[in-house]
Symmetry: C2
Subunit: 157 residues, 2 copies
């Protein structure tokens, strides 16, 4: 991985780890503007379903929300880093703002709408990061019902 990618993913993973410590779903993201190879973290965020009873603040949407209002030009210079493959909503948010590149920590625990992103020209890199994978796997084992709720799946125990 390049330096900018290591930075972006480490910020996203830190968010996920903070979320886990809060008892939340450990998925984090970072919106990073890269110009002349120099990364600037515009915002980061984490899944807040359990902390805020939120149905829309996933890692990626949380990072976008924390970035506040940005003009269209800024998003087009950004990479979205996320610890887990983006769901349909977060993929749609990436498409809405025409973010050209997404770096995904892992897609072993969940595979989102990566193919839709690629089909619309987004550059998608899956890193298969052990830290992202083990944290998420641990959460899913501990709180499967909350995880199913987060992805709109019916939980039958």
């Amino acid at each position: 991985m390049e330096n900018a990618d290591q930075l972006g993913l480490s910020v996203a993973l830190q968010e996920a780890q903070n979320g886990y410590k809060e008892g939340g779903i450990p998925i984090g993201a970072a919106l990073v503007r890269i110009r002349d190879g120099i990364p600037e973290v515009l915002a980061s965020g984490r899944n807040l379903r359990l902390q805020k009873s939120s149905a829309t603040l996933h890692g990626e949407t949380s990072a976008l929300e924390n970035a506040g209002r940005l003009s269209a030009e800024v998003y087009r210079e950004c990479t979205m880093y996320t610890t887990l493959s983006p769901c349909s909503m977060c993929s749609g948010a990436i498409l809405l703002y025409k973010i050209p590149r997404v770096v995904i920590g892992e897609n072993a625990n969940f595979k989102g709408d990566e193919e839709l992103l690629r089909s619309r020209g987004v550059d998608v890199l899956v890193v298969d990061d052990e830290g992202c994978k083990s944290l998420m796997a641990r959460f899913i084992e501990e709180k499967p019902q909350e995880w199913y709720e987060d992805i709109g799946e019916i939980y039958s125990h």
Copy 2:
């Protein structure tokens, strides 16, 4: 339109009108659970970009956020009503939660990801409502830059 649809769309339009009065982008939505033909408005919401400097609270995501945490089963009995054709993010949110039906006030001012929704089995009805259309057209004429920002498009004046 059926009674449930008239109710749902009128709640969405009321949200849009309230948003306009606040100086916001006038797009509203309502999440309505329909059982045995009887509609229950679970939540409604409106675009809050200008009111809250929010990049993620569109009409539909705002309604989902206001509905709070719901189990997967509930969403599958819902219809999402929205005054304007849902953007990629909001379409993705509808797909995430497997909401089976979307009623759209109009798609003349903006056409979102309706085809993606249909291709994944969502029942999409476009009403072509004059009230929705004229309110949105008025806003776009008054504040084109804010509108472009909301859909991630570059504004050149």
